[in-house]
């Protein structure tokens, strides 16, 4: 029976209460460990199309008569359009339409950052559209520019009020602590750089808008477009069969979609609007910089008695105030805690969610601070983490938590440090560091799926979700195959089109598998029940193959439907893990090489160990870029972005990859759905920066508290460590 319930929904660490109709979820979880299909490595169902270049991305959509759009962006970090003349652009060859501020959602009169969209042109070719932009005459009124996050906080320029958390009595606990450590950590702005840039192709057919878009959330895009344009939602069709990376930056339609839709409406032709790489690196979102002023107090036995943090997120012109304080609140048992988190409103491009937003940054600060505490207490860092293990989330029980088992599995990697130290020489210093991981990843309702079984014994899972490259298409096929008792090659998955299948959840916040997997299993179980009923009526013996049971149907089909059940009430659903990293630091040049990463994660049941290992490797590699080489730079005088090309913005290459060892505590979360799986997209990037920084300290004694740890930063930290050493010995400081 359908049930209407009020439930808490979490995406990227943001919570809201929603009403959902859920169906009873009577299925018992499968036993732990590898089953027939689930829990066994499976190459991706769609890998052949992707590898052979046959997969059709939004970038590959070619519609008859399609025009190309280009967007005029503000050259100023803060300015108002006083006057704009589109006529010279409209007079140029190939130009079919032009839009000024306010003529499409997202085109603004007041540009709050360099790169803000103000006008757009559609032309026969992209070259013509770009040329037309140059002809648009704009008179700007330049306004005051604020680029410094501390200044913005001082002046009360915030995106929202400060967020505060407090428990216990921090002042007293700090006063009574045997040891107090205090440090400021800074993380930089980094860019998603999905290889397929943000883009959409829009076409009006009758009164229906068809939107082909590179997105992580088909239904969110449909809803937002419908609401913005005043259309019924079923008059917007959203298609995304394959998408070339998002990492959190493609959850909404944004200006390029509305520009394409409006230009398509005006011209009566399909319009593509695709960001260039340089626009992508200016205005398509970023992981915002943070400043973290942290304090921790502990008793001499290693018990952490106080944690305090003042966090500033350099949000930009708009965006949300991510939970940078989250790890400090949740990772350790600590009775006395106080945090405040400011979201600084700046004349810089807006942040967007980027793979565990807030927690990547906050874990860097917290887990470095904990290692500094371990050094002061002379306690082994792994032991210190165990002594402060949290058994609940501020009193709320965990649905499951196997971090202790992660720590146990980490021991053999942690014990390598003696051997690693021994491989140091005069130039290359080697060390080992660790950091824990905590993040969300429980998913939730509403999410629906259908399963169709033909008389040939082949099944199709139908749901309008998206596979953003994480392999969820394959995971859904495995779950359905397991439940139906079919081999994986007899199950197909149709997804990526709001007109073909029921509502599916966002692919963000490590939620696709835990949201969609239970719905797919429920749909498959519904189909399987019908198949079993038929077998019984035909008096077929138990174990008769599906194809033999359904063969009599001819053109008939079995149709199963399923919905995602609710999350457990009164429980915190979280993911956990630990990384142990080995680094080598060239103390003469400041070069840092990550040599080995052991990653142990607890995300409940693993559906596809092969795809899961790829997720972990990808997260680690992205984390290495975040830690060592990536940084969006802007001109401090003008606020213009300097690192717009992939030459200036340095992402890891295949040559930067360390040895990666990937392990899972593969235990289903007994309280979470019929599947017991949590998400894995984000956990692997969370502890990387802290573990590398801790390994650097272990190798060299240098305190690296600022990302990225470039050669310059590394040399500065080494010199500071040497100066401190000289000071301790009482030697005169070098001039």
């Amino acid at each position: 029976m359908a049930r209407l319930i009020r439930t808490e929904k979490e995406v990227e660490g943001r919570f809201e209460e929603v009403w959902v109709v859920v169906e009873e979820d009577p299925l018992e979880q499968w036993p732990a460990g590898p089953l027939t299909v689930v829990g066994r490595p499976a190459p991706r169902k769609d890998a052949p199309e992707r590898v052979r270049g046959e997969a059709r991305f939004t970038a590959d959509i070619r519609l008859p008569g399609m025009l190309q759009a280009a967007i005029l962006r503000s050259p100023h970090a803060h300015a108002r359009v006083r006057r704009i003349d589109l006529a010279p652009a409209l007079a140029l060859p190939g130009v079919r339409a032009a839009l000024g501020p306010g003529e499409a959602h997202g085109l603004v009169e007041e540009a709050g950052f360099a790169g803000a969209p103000v006008a757009a042109v559609a032309a026969e070719t992209f070259g013509q559209a770009r040329a037309a932009l140059a002809a648009i005459d704009v008179e700007w009124e330049e306004l005051e520019v604020v680029l410094d996050a501390d200044e913005a906080v001082r002046r009360g320029l915030l995106t929202a009020g400060p967020r505060r958390h407090e428990r216990g009595d921090v002042e007293r606990a700090l006063a009574e602590a045997d040891v107090v450590v205090e440090a400021t950590y800074r993380t930089q702005t980094v860019l998603h750089n999905s290889l397929e840039t943000h883009q959409a192709v829009c076409e009006w057919l009758g009164d229906t808008l068809h939107v082909y878009i590179s997105t992580q959330f088909i239904w969110g895009v449909r809803q937002e477009i419908a609401e913005t344009l005043g259309l019924p939602e079923d008059k917007v069709r959203v298609v995304c069969e394959f998408m070339g990376g998002g990492f959190g930056s493609k959850n909404n339609p944004d200006e390029y979609t509305f520009v394409a839709a409006e230009l398509a409406r005006r011209t009566g032709r399909p319009v593509r609007c695709a960001l260039t790489r340089r626009e992508e690196n200016t205005a398509a979102g970023n992981r915002n910089a943070t400043i973290q002023r942290l304090r921790a107090g502990a008793r001499s036995d290693g018990t952490i008695v106080a944690l305090e943090g003042e966090f500033t997120n350099a949000v930009g012109w708009s965006g949300w105030n991510a939970s940078t304080e989250g790890p400090m609140r949740m990772l350790y048992a600590c009775d006395n805690l106080r945090t405040v988190t400011y979201g600084a409103r700046l004349n810089t491009p807006p942040m967007k969610a980027f793979r565990a937003p807030g927690f990547v940054e906050g874990t860097f600060g917290l887990e470095c601070l904990v290692d500094e505490l371990a050094a002061r207490l002379d306690v082994d860092p792994l032991e210190l983490r165990r002594r402060n293990y949290a058994d609940s989330n501020e009193g709320t029980p965990f649905s499951s938590k196997n971090l202790a088992e992660c720590y146990r599995l980490a021991e053999r990697h942690w014990e390598r440090r003696h051997e690693v130290h021994a491989r140091s020489d005069a130039v290359w210093k080697r060390g080992v560091g660790m950091a824990s991981q905590i993040w969300y990843g429980g998913g939730g309702p509403p999410s629906y799926a259908w399963v169709r079984v033909g008389s040939d014994g082949r099944a199709t899972v139908i749901t309008a979700m998206q596979d953003i490259g994480t392999g969820t298409r394959t995971a859904m096929a495995q779950i359905a195959a397991e439940e139906l008792g079919l081999p994986l090659e007899r199950v197909e998955v149709v997804l990526g089109d709001s007109a073909r299948g029921p509502y599916a959840s966002i692919s963000a916040g490590s939620s696709t598998t835990p949201s969609m997997g239970p719905a797919v299993r429920a749909a498959a179980a519904d189909a399987r029940q019908q198949i079993d009923d038929i077998a019984e009526q035909r008096s077929l013996p138990a174990g008769t193959p599906v194809e033999d049971i359904v063969a009599v149907l001819e053109d008939g089909q079995i149709l199963g439907k399923g919905a995602r059940g609710p999350n457990p009430t009164g429980m915190s659903v979280l993911t956990f893990g630990v990384h142990v990293v080995e680094v080598a630091v060239d103390v003469e040049t400041g070069e840092v090489r990550v040599e080995r990463v052991a990653a142990i994660h607890d995300v409940g049941r693993i559906v596809n160990p092969l795809g899961a290992s790829s997720q972990v490797e990808g997260g680690i590699i992205q984390g290495i870029g975040h830690t060592l080489s990536e940084e969006r730079l802007l001109d401090p005088a003008t606020g213009r972005i300097l690192t717009t090309s992939l030459d200036a913005y340095r992402m890891p290459t295949i040559a930067d990859v360390p040895e990666i060892v990937c392990e899972f505590v593969d235990v289903p979360d007994e309280h979470l759905t019929n599947l017991g799986s949590k998400g894995l997209g984000e956990p692997p990037i969370v502890p990387v920066a802290a573990a590398i920084a801790n390994a650097i300290r272990d190798a060299t004694g240098a305190e690296v508290r600022e990302l990225p740890i470039s050669r310059e930063e590394m040399l500065r930290a080494l010199e500071a460590a040497r100066a401190q050493e000289r000071g301790r010995r009482g030697a005169p400081a070098a001039v």
Binding site: P43, R44, D46, A47, P48, E49, R50, V51, R52, G53, E54, A55, R56, F57, A59, D60, R62, H192, N193, S194, L195, E196, T197, F242, M243, G244, G245, F247, T276, R277, I468, G469, T470, G471, L610, G611, S613, S614, E617, G618, G619, I620, I621, Q622, S645, L646, D647, M651, P652, T653, I654, A655, V657, I660
Partner: protein, 152 residues
């Protein structure tokens, strides 16, 4: 418009495109060979890699009229053993960079049938993958090397 003669994957094409058009655009927009991806359009990422007479080239910064040789795109390598190796080893996540990776890797194994890890890293360092499939790409190339050798 200026006549362009182009040999692609064994077929001869005569096209009318403006001088200054990039090879990647001709492949994608004129010939419909959208397996070649454009991710940066300025020669920094390798997604647009094709082979010209077996050598890997960045088609986004190669002028179509300047091409003098046989162009091989991912569409011409669909039966290459590397394709199956990439699939088997899970050397693909979002897949946007993957055709370029395969084209670069195919040029490598043609020249060095049994490349070392170092040689793979050197040859593929110009092909960015934001999803971080690199370990699996390395594995895929290593796995296919002997079978390419055997095929000779």
């Amino acid at each position: 418009m200026t006549e362009l003669r182009l040999r692609v994957n064994g077929s001869e094409h005569v096209l009318d495109v403006p001088v200054g058009t990039g090879l990647a655009h001709v492949l994608r927009d004129e010939l419909g060979l959208t397996g070649t991806k454009i991710a940066c359009n300025e020669g920094h990422c390798g997604a647009c890699t094709v082979q010209i007479d077996g050598e890997p080239r960045l088609s986004c910064i190669t002028l179509a009229h300047a091409v003098d040789g046989e162009v091989t795109t991912i569409e011409g390598l669909r039966d290459h053993p590397l394709v199956d190796a990439f699939v088997r080893c899970d050397a693909v996540q979002c897949g946007f960079c993957t055709p370029g990776q395969v084209v670069s890797a195919a040029a490598l194994v043609a020249a060095r049938p049994s490349p070392t890890r170092e040689e793979i890293r050197h040859a593929l360092a110009g092909n960015l993958c934001r999803c971080g499939t690199y370990p699996k790409i390395e594995e895929a190339i290593l796995s296919v090397a002997p079978s390419v050798e055997k095929g000779r």
